[in-house]
Symmetry: C2
Subunit: 285 residues, 2 copies
């Protein structure tokens, strides 16, 4: 590694980037929890395309995990992450410790916007509060003009967009397409939890989303029918459980009866002990 600069403290990353900004350079930020895959790297590449400097952050944020979630077993692969970032042309990577992000006595949080209330927000109470808080903090520590997020976390992107607008955060949000394995499974750091049979069953997510898209292409506008078809595909995979498999408004993420213009199909389901999410935007023909 001869290129990417690894920075560990908020003070150092802020002063480095403030210096770069005052020299007129544009900065693109890619916040990650590490365990990087081709999806993350596509964000870094997009940042390099749009901005002069790409800055990645690696921080497994404890406040966005529930007490029974996978915080402690979340994959940590720092050496490999740094290599991949270096190869992708990343300029800086900020790797803070938990204590540097949440000092003793930390007690200010972001109460996330209303788009956080359903789906992931309902099933993972406190998740978006933790996400919004750490993302705002990272935006303050890393003074970038643009931040890049993957569409795979559709609701997360909606939450961050609304937060940026509501709180007047001086940053632009760019959303990049989901990167998929050759068979269609969305890239996720959690895919490595899957056994080989679970991995095969997990393809049900993509099949269900594609089925929804085909129905819409054929003229189906009844959301109830599309949701039923998605459930049938998932149960045939088989999934071990479905948290939700819905077609919702692409902006507000509120439930729909009929597809008017653009909607999004969202799924969260479990394979063994692994919970995966995916989504697909549905356009009327």
């Amino acid at each position: 590694m001869d290129r990417v600069r690894v920075v560990h403290t908020p003070l150092e990353i802020y002063s480095q980037l403030a210096h770069e900004r005052s020299a007129g350079r544009t900065v693109g930020l890619v916040p990650t929890m590490g365990a990087l895959h081709a999806g993350h790297l596509s964000l870094v590449k997009q940042a390099k395309k749009d901005c002069e400097l790409a800055v990645a952050t690696i921080f497994v944020n404890p406040t966005q995990f529930g007490p029974n979630e996978d915080f402690s077993k979340y994959p940590r692969t720092l050496e490999r992450d740094l290599e991949q970032l270096d190869n992708a042309g990343c300029d800086y990577v900020f790797v803070p410790s938990s204590e540097q992000i949440y000092a003793p006595g930390h007690s200010t949080f972001i109460e996330p916007p209303s788009v956080a209330s359903r789906w992931e927000g309902e099933i993972r109470p406190g998740h978006f509060r933790g996400v919004a808080t750490v993302v705002l903090k990272l935006f303050m520590m890393v003074p970038a003009q643009v931040a890049f997020f993957g569409r795979k976390d559709y609701q997360q992107v909606a939450v961050i967009r609304a937060m940026v607008e509501d709180l007047n955060l001086p940053i632009r949000i760019e959303v990049c397409d989901t990167i998929r394995e050759s068979d269609g499974l969305a890239m996720s750091s959690r895919n490595r939890y899957l056994s080989s049979t679970e991995r095969a069953r997990a393809l049900g997510l993509w099949r269900a989303l594609q089925g929804a898209q085909e129905l819409v292409q054929q003229g189906e506008r009844d959301v109830g029918k599309i949701e039923l078809a998605m459930q049938q595909v998932l149960l045939a995979a088989p999934v071990d459980s479905i948290d939700y498999a819905r077609v919702v408004d692409a902006q507000t993420m509120e439930p729909l009866q009929q597809i008017e213009e653009v909607a999004v199909a969202i799924i969260a389901a479990r394979f063994g002990s692994t919970r995966l999410i995916d989504n697909l935007t549905l356009y009327r023909p």
Copy 2:
């Protein structure tokens, strides 16, 4: 008025100030709700002393008022405010409308730090949530290096300081001394609500604080005794009711038994329908 520039939209103030910052100028921010008095103007003068440019904001923030509070009758004296800011050497004043600060659908708020939970936070539920949210928004819209607040709102300052630290906001908070009338009453936009007899009675706040200070100077360290003495002075004023009259830790604002190093006496009391607050830092001799 030939000097102060009045700006009405977030976009305009941000781009003006971003331009000033990129030209290397330092910016000091003084957030106000208007109805300006000598206390506010002392903040503007301090901003001009410490920074090249002073920016005041005037916005009566609806989200920090409770349903039975004085939002609608809060004094609005824009013409006079602008004159006073001009005379004080203020460079920009940002006067947004309510719709520009809270667009339809706005739903992201700041969950304030733990120092917000007692005293004003308990008596005015949601007050500091509204304060923290609008202050963070103003910090984002007005890219200043320093923001100036008056010590009269002691707990507000503690909340804002903790928020800035917890959320890594790239701004420094400067606290300026309370400005008092010649007889000791702390300047407040709400003093104009007082009838002349209430005005005379309101001096009980300052007398109670001074009494607390004298006791500490005389070596009293028992907080219970000091609080009792403050209550007696207030009841003699007479106040119409006491929300609190306490001696608390100067950092955490938690209740104290004994004064160790530095403490702060805080009072909130009512005179007729007018609620006033004041405080005094107590140093051991």
